[in-house]
Symmetry: C2
Subunit: 192 residues, 2 copies
């Protein structure tokens, strides 16, 4: 890909991400994506061989970002500080515009069910969960409840990320506190 003359692919991914997030995968047509790029939909087929490949490329971007995050996390000593920093960086991701991909995945959007790449992405999410709450959260004895806590922690960052895009960034800080609290084993769920 080095030495390419145009940035159409890159722009297409940005446009597609935004549209997929707003209208869903099935609700987004190639015409809509093409119009956002001021080209025709036929031209899109020079860059991608199918609509599904566009989705795959978008997912791949997200996958890469999370993979980097996990790699960083694995090299840190495990502890509350690393946990918090992992969540903070993940939150930054969602603010930076990867929110949409994250939303696509977290909501378990139907389009992803048949997507080969989805398995890889899901594996990475699980790896992130393991990093956040110890290996085997999703399969352990109190797995369902532990998993619920991690999912909620991630949800907090996603919801705050959407909010933060239209103003107040301090919601993100509050969300980070809530997320850490949800993963804190000392706080069992009921009030002190």
């Amino acid at each position: 890909m080095a030495g390419r003359r145009t940035d159409t692919r890159q722009r297409a991914q940005r446009v597609a991400l935004r549209l997929f997030a707003e209208y869903g995968y099935e609700g987004t047509s190639l015409r809509m994506i093409a119009e956002g790029l001021n080209i025709t939909k036929a031209a899109l087929y020079y860059h991608y061989k199918s609509k599904e490949e566009i989705l795959a490329a978008v997912l791949s971007d997200f996958s890469g970002a999370v993979a980097d995050l996990i790699e960083w996390g694995e090299q840190q000593p495990s502890g509350p500080e690393t946990q918090r920093e992992l969540l903070r960086r993940y939150g930054e991701l969602t603010v930076d515009g990867v929110t949409a991909a994250a939303r696509l995945i977290q909501v378990n959007e139907p389009a992803l069910r048949e997507q080969p790449l989805a398995a890889e992405v899901q594996a990475q999410i699980i790896a992130l969960f393991d990093l956040l709450a110890g290996p085997g959260v999703l399969t352990g004895a109190d797995g369902p409840v532990a998993a619920l806590r991690v999912k909620l922690a991630i949800s907090a960052l996603h919801l705050a990320g959407e909010e933060a895009e239209s103003g107040g960034r301090d919601v993100m800080d509050a969300a980070l506190d809530i997320a850490c609290g949800l993963l804190d084993p000392q706080w069992a769920g009921s009030a002190p």
Copy 2:
């Protein structure tokens, strides 16, 4: 509607709800709904004048259930017990199969953006939020953060509801504890 000979409408709503939840509104065709009822899609047009009207009917079911819940809540003394019972009953709703509609709404599914009924449903969700966390949560000074907490509390019940459908009902109890904790002003978000 009293005295109707068949229950096709009722069955159609059940089938549509399940399909909308699994494949999304745009990803669900009338053919799919019709096949689930063992009739042809043309026959659906005897009961509904458009696909959107099917969605409206499904939303209306959900809306009615939440309206009943709110009416009950408003007649109770406000306090932690009522709050908890509100959340518990809402959780029961999502287990009973209204999950899908709830998911549709909470995820802000694109199909709902242009749906007239969506405004009404959204207003009811806001009313529920007010009941849960005091009037004006969504517009107050620390509105964004308070709103985030309520959204997460609801999310906990939705996520647990999906889990509970395939076995372990005690996840629901744990989710209820977490939801109450999230709405507890004493617990500010950070660990003790």
